[in-house]
């Protein structure tokens, strides 16, 4: 994110180095290529999703969204995100705090571990939980004895989602916190604040935009995750299907309109996420610009 800001700020300066720009032909070819690619692979599918969704009228569209199975899928997706995102926010902040502000043995291993969910296939992530908590898994017999259901139930879906979305917050915060160092925190301590005051008054305000950005990405993935959730869910209609799984079920049942209707809702959620994300980015760069402008006007 910091990179984006820097590029935008630097843009003003680069305008003067016109000797380096390509010829008009090359520029327009490259731009139309890029736009054509985007149109074909991004906008066209999106438009198709909405076209199919509304293909049999608004009535059918809303019927598809309000049938019990769809409502249950939406509810489960929201519940999953509502549990996974806050927990991952707390874990992410804690992990980045530890990594950025302290020196300890095994720090590199911890960083690698945080990246692990990015590196392995979501299917394997799902399988891990089946192997751990499934009926024949390690903890399976004990769970059955105590009548606790994890796999093919909401807890399993939440666990798999948390695993897959774990890196988003931490990845966003670690570089930011490392760049900021810990001197402000130490200052706060010498001024008599306790750890809690230090965190809420100094650390959190300094990382708030990065944190929000990470949370948004984490949320987007939590709602859209398919692979890992698919393995642990068991596809019980109206019970353990999340929105992505429900879409697949509908599609396999040849109920294309309904399938695309739910897909459009998911796309709509993604759309909102994108808008919020852009707003955050815009806000950060605006704050940065204001800061630069103010300090410049100060000196002149």
């Amino acid at each position: 994110m910091a990179g984006t800001v820097a590029i935008r700020v630097g843009g003003g300066r680069n305008r003067h180095t016109s000797g380096k720009t390509e010829s008009a032909f090359v520029r327009w070819t490259l731009i139309s290529l890029a736009l054509g690619f985007l149109a074909f692979f991004l906008f066209l599918p999106l438009i198709l999703v909405f076209t199919y969704a509304f293909g049999q009228g608004v009535k059918t569209y809303f019927a598809a969204l309000t049938e019990p199975d769809a409502l249950s899928a939406i509810r489960l997706t929201l519940i999953t995100a509502a549990i996974a995102v806050p927990l991952n926010t707390v874990f992410g902040v804690a992990a980045s705090w530890a990594i950025a502000k302290f020196e300890f043995k095994g720090k590199n291993i911890l960083i690698t571990l945080i990246d692990l969910p990015f590196a392995i296939s979501p299917i394997i992530a799902g399988l891990i939980f089946v192997l751990l908590f499934g009926a024949r898994g390690w903890f399976g017999p004990w769970l059955v004895e105590n009548d606790i259901r994890i796999i093919f139930a909401t807890p399993g879906i939440v666990l798999a989602t948390m695993f897959v979305t774990f890196p988003f917050v931490a990845r966003e915060l670690i570089p930011l916190m490392q760049a900021q160092g810990n001197e402000e925190e130490l200052s706060a301590l010498t001024l008599g604040s306790n750890g809690w005051q230090m965190f809420w008054r100094v650390t959190l305000p300094n990382i708030k935009w990065g944190l929000l950005y990470g949370v948004i990405l984490c949320n987007a993935r939590a709602m859209g995750e398919f692979g890992a959730v698919s393995v642990v869910s068991g596809h019980i209609r109206g019970l353990t299907n999340t929105m992505p799984l429900h879409i697949e079920v509908l599609y396999n049942d040849y109920r294309f309109t309904a399938s695309f209707a739910v897909a459009s809702l998911l796309a709509f959620l993604a759309f909102i996420t994108l808008i919020v994300k852009s707003l955050v980015e815009w806000n950060v760069s605006r704050e940065h610009m204001l800061a630069v402008r103010e300090s410049e006007s100060e000196q002149s």
Binding site: E183, E184, L186, T190, L191, G192
Partner: protein, 352 residues
């Protein structure tokens, strides 16, 4: 309030940052910890503050006879000014200075009104009262430094610790701020310790200078003391430019090159191989021998754009020496590059 450091050691992995350090910082004084990078001066300062812990079981830190080794930094009541100020970047100058007052326990916290008065009083003290609503990034380096100082003073610390307080400033601001800090210290009388690698800064500002090297204290003394009576070769070299000779000490006399001088009686007596040090301003240049023992040399370079004139000469033994003389004396001598001159040290120091 005095600070007493008793046999403190600190190791980072295999690196000994502090090697059994003992030191007493007088109450109400301004003390400089002076040394090159890696000498342990900042580590010592951070241990005094409680930002770093000394090796377990290694010694004590006493604040006015009270052991604070196990006191957490937030209860030590030290004002600490970081090298890069560490101002809270998302807070205005006012809120930065008010921070220490606002985080106090409810029972000790001053009223809003009192906080405002105290902050403005402090901002007046550091001459920044008009800038209370600014953010740190809108301030110059010197202004940030003073905000950091005001913020540290807000909680009425018992000692003030400053890490390279002028390190990040440009030369002119640095000079001004030095003199200002000295005046501020005289007004407040708070026990202060600052770290620096700049000998001029230490000698000019401090009441007492602690010269450090490789985790040890080389010498403690007034600026006059350490400059004029260095106890070790390191102090001699670190506090200013020197010309070095290899020589021999024998029955009360020092021989180096073609020269010979009585052994300086103020120093501890040694015999045998020794190194002889002469500061450039203690070197006399003559155009004639005057019948005294002197070293002949050829002028290589003259640097006269300054308050004094620096003359670099090459001796017959192929050694480059530096002499410093006044503009008046230089004008009366009429030497130029290539002239033959006679060099005579007026004042020498000898270390084994």
């Amino acid at each position: 309030m005095s600070i007493e450091v008793q046999s403190i050691s600190k190791t980072f992995g295999k690196f000994k940052a502090l090697d059994n350090i003992s030191l007493t910082v007088g109450g109400g004084r301004l003390t400089a910890l002076l040394g090159p990078s890696g000498s342990g001066k900042t580590t010592l300062l951070r241990i005094m503050a409680g930002l770093e812990y000394a090796d377990p079981g290694s010694g004590k830190i006493l604040f006015h006879d009270e052991d604070v080794v196990n006191t957490h930094v937030r209860h030590r009541r030290v004002g600490f000014v970081f090298q890069h100020y560490a101002l809270f970047r998302h807070m205005t100058v006012f809120n930065n200075v008010a921070f220490g007052l606002r985080v106090k326990r409810r029972s000790e916290r001053p009223s809003k009104e009192d906080i405002r008065n105290r902050v403005h009083e402090l901002l007046g003290l550091v001459q920044l009262d008009g800038l209370a609503a600014r953010y740190p990034h809108q301030l110059s380096g010197g202004q940030r430094q003073r905000v950091a100082l005001a913020r540290a003073l807000a909680v009425q610390p018992k000692v003030l610790l400053l890490d390279e307080p002028f390190g990040a400033l440009d030369a002119k601001v640095r000079k001004e701020l030095r003199a200002w800090l000295r005046r501020l210290h005289d007004d407040l009388g708070i026990t202060s310790v600052f770290v620096t690698h700049d000998q001029d800064e230490a000698l000019e500002v401090a009441d007492e200078v602690v010269v450090m090297s490789q985790g040890r204290i080389e010498q403690v003394g007034t600026p006059d003391d350490v400059f004029h009576h260095p106890k070790t070769e390191f102090v001699m070299r670190f506090l200013g430019e020197v010309n070095t000779f290899h020589g021999r000490v024998d029955s009360g006399r020092v021989q180096f090159g073609p020269l010979d001088a009585p052994y300086p009686h103020s120093q501890q007596q040694i015999t045998g191989e020794a190194r002889v040090f002469v500061r450039p301003h203690d070197v006399t240049i003559d155009t004639k021998t005057n019948g005294l023992t002197a070293m002949s040399a050829i002028v290589k370079r003259i640097h006269s754009a300054g308050s004094s004139v620096r003359v670099e000469v090459l001796t017959a033994a192929d050694q480059t020496l530096v002499a410093e003389l006044s503009q008046d004396r230089f004008a009366s001598m009429q030497i130029e590059t290539g002239s033959t001159v006679y060099i005579r040290p007026r004042h020498i120091r000898v270390f084994a």
